[in-house]
């Protein structure tokens, strides 16, 4: 019974992890940039939702549209004003974009600390649980799971059927091919970064009633997203959802059997193992 309960907790957690990882994935897809500031966007959004609740009593679900728009704008600005200005011709272009998001991560965490303070908090929202056949379904987790799944479907729809979505997928798959077909890659990258950040902030708002958070924990969510995406294969969206379920289950079981401190190490252990054994992810094709 306890195993079934742990599995349920893991899957419910996996839904939100998957949403966050989709945002990370799209940024990597269009830009080949590992966005180390990803988790800071997640956490800032969560802390903002807590702030809105405590100061004005606003329901986090009503905050959601605000954080999505704010994330979209912030992502577009970060790409336009910062990443696009990195000189592309130097040998370590990949390293400099990585370092830039590393600096941005500290900037955001520091700005959050100065604005909201370093206190741990969460929104006490839907604290009850549904009972079903002796198993507990915590209401907050179920709600976050459902909203995360709906947002992920909307995300998939945008990528699949809109013009910009097709352009984003084309750019991710083959940059030269996309350029040759007349895709405005620069615009696509701005859009990709904006959508990716909006998804991250959406996930963050949902996490405001799942986790007790403070602004300096962005790293945790960057690592979670990175681990999920590595497990599923970078750039692979189905893989990311599967990876999120695996990580959710691992964290749930590890914290029960090994304690919270060691469970914190679970994503690191998982992604290092996967990188070494199957560098293209569990669904990844082998490349030459």
């Amino acid at each position: 019974m306890i195993l079934a309960q742990l599995a349920i907790n893991g899957v419910l957690l996996g839904g939100v992890l998957a949403l966050s990882a989709l945002g990370f994935n799209i940024v990597f897809g269009v830009m080949r940039v590992v966005n180390l500031a990803h988790g800071d966007f997640v956490v800032l959004s969560a802390v903002f939702a807590v702030f809105a609740f405590e100061q004005f009593g606003i329901n986090p679900l009503l905050v959601l549209p605000v954080t999505i728009v704010a994330g979209f704008v912030a992502g577009a600005l970060v790409h336009r004003l910062l990443l696009r200005r990195l000189p592309g011709e130097i040998a370590s272009a990949e390293a400099s974009s990585l370092t830039l998001t590393f600096g941005l991560s500290y900037f955001l965490a520091g700005a959050g600390l100065a604005t909201f303070g370093g206190r741990f908090a969460s929104v006490p929202y839907l604290t009850g649980a549904y009972q079903l056949g002796g198993l507990q379904f915590p209401q907050a987790r179920v709600l976050a799971f459902v909203v995360a799944v709906l947002l992920s479907l909307a995300f998939a729809l945008v990528l699949r059927s809109t013009r910009i979505g097709r352009a984003i997928r084309a750019t991710s798959q083959n940059l030269d091919g996309a350029l040759a077909c007349g895709v405005d890659v620069d615009r696509v990258r701005t859009a990709g970064f904006a959508i990716g950040t909006a998804v991250a902030t959406a996930a963050g708002t949902l996490m405001s009633f799942l986790y007790n958070l403070n602004v300096q924990q962005g790293v945790l969510f960057t690592v979670n997203a990175f681990a999920v995406v590595v497990i599923g294969g970078l750039g692979n969206y189905t893989g990311a959802v599967l990876g999120a379920l695996i990580l959710g289950l691992c964290e749930s079981f590890a914290s029960y059997f090994a304690g919270a401190t060691l469970a914190e190490a679970a994503p690191y252990v998982l992604f290092i193992l996967v990188l070494l054994v199957a560098p293209n992810g569990i669904l990844g094709r082998r490349t030459a």
Binding site: V34, S96, T99, G110
Partner: protein
């Protein structure tokens, strides 16, 4: 002429660094120690990340290992501090061999994040051993004084600069730079890639490992946040990038400039320190992507070229 000027600058800086403890005390000696520590850390990072091109976000793991090993050997085993610090560095270097064997299979952002994860795992492991006092930390007997620790750190910094100067002109250094530009091509040309990058990795672990022991003695009390300090890790990367990644003098210039700025910021705005520091890193990458030293070298070269053209009949 230009060469003589360079040598004179280096000798003057070295003499100044050696003489510093004779005239300084209290806060200023602390600042001198932190400066020298930053210089050495930036050089340690520069070998694996600047020369070999493997950007690491986890070299602080070796610093923490050195710090904890030294603290345990001094506090529990009563070893003389200098031998304990040496042992801490050697332990970090020895551990880097199996770690490097595994981690150096990863490339680019995967290596960077893998090392970051590795550092977190080492931190969790070290602090879950009862002997290290877990999260509560360890006290060292406070009888050392800062001057010996300063000279220890200065010696390591000088050694690190020496190793880098050698790297810059040796065949081994060329092999590393070939790896950085294109690992496949380098391997085709007969570079033993695994061996070269593991040697670089071991050097990049030995330097922070040796420094960690000194840091433990400097603090006389260590806990996980100090030994695996994210701030020191970030700083050493920013300093090397500011000065010029993969150059001999870049980390020195970057660390000398940055330590002063960083100390001033830390003293006046501790609340927004990380924000300003992160913002500076971002601004630097856009404004001075190659760093100070290459930018100056470029300007000098251009002026020399213009002079040569004008002097021509």
């Amino acid at each position: 002429m230009k060469r003589a000027l360079g040598v004179a600058t280096i000798v003057a800086t070295a003499l100044l660094a050696i003489a510093a403890p004779l005239r300084l005390d209290g806060y200023w000696l602390n600042l001198a120690y932190v400066t020298v520590l930053s210089v050495a850390l930036a050089y340690g990072w520069n070998i694996i990340s600047g020369y070999a091109g493997y950007f690491s976000f986890g070299q602080i793991a070796f610093f923490g290992i050195g710090a904890y090993a030294t603290a345990l050997l001094v506090a529990d085993e009563r070893w003389p501090w200098i031998i304990a610090a040496l042992a801490g560095g050697l332990l970090a270097c020895a551990l880097s061999i199996p770690l490097g064997y595994v981690m150096l299979r990863l490339r680019g952002p995967f290596f960077a994040m893998g090392m970051f994860g590795m550092a977190q795992m080492v931190r969790v492991l070290v602090t879950s051993i009862p002997a290290t006092g877990a999260g509560a930390g360890l006290f060292l007997p406070p009888s050392f004084g800062l001057v010996p620790v300063y000279y220890w750190t200065l010696a390591i910094a000088a050694g690190a600069i020496g190793v880098t100067a050698w790297l810059d002109r040796s065949a081994f250094g060329l092999r590393l730079q070939a790896l950085r530009e294109d690992e496949h091509v380098a391997a085709t040309l007969g570079v033993d890639a695994t061996r070269a990058k593991m040697t670089a990795f071991a050097l990049s672990a030995l330097i922070p490992g040796l420094l960690g022991g000194g840091y433990a003695l400097f603090l006389t009390y260590i806990e996980p946040d100090a030994a695996f300090s994210a701030r020191l890790d970030l700083q050493s990367i920013v300093m090397a990038i500011l000065g010029g990644v993969g150059t001999v003098w870049g980390p020195l210039v970057g660390a000398l400039v940055m330590t002063q700025i960083s100390e001033a910021l830390w003293a006046t705005f501790p609340q927004v320190y990380l924000m300003i520091f992160g913002g500076m890193l971002v601004a630097l990458l856009i404004a001075l992507p190659r760093g100070i030293v290459p930018a100056i070298a470029e300007r000098v070269r251009r002026r020399a070229a213009v002079g040569a053209v004008e002097a021509a009949p």
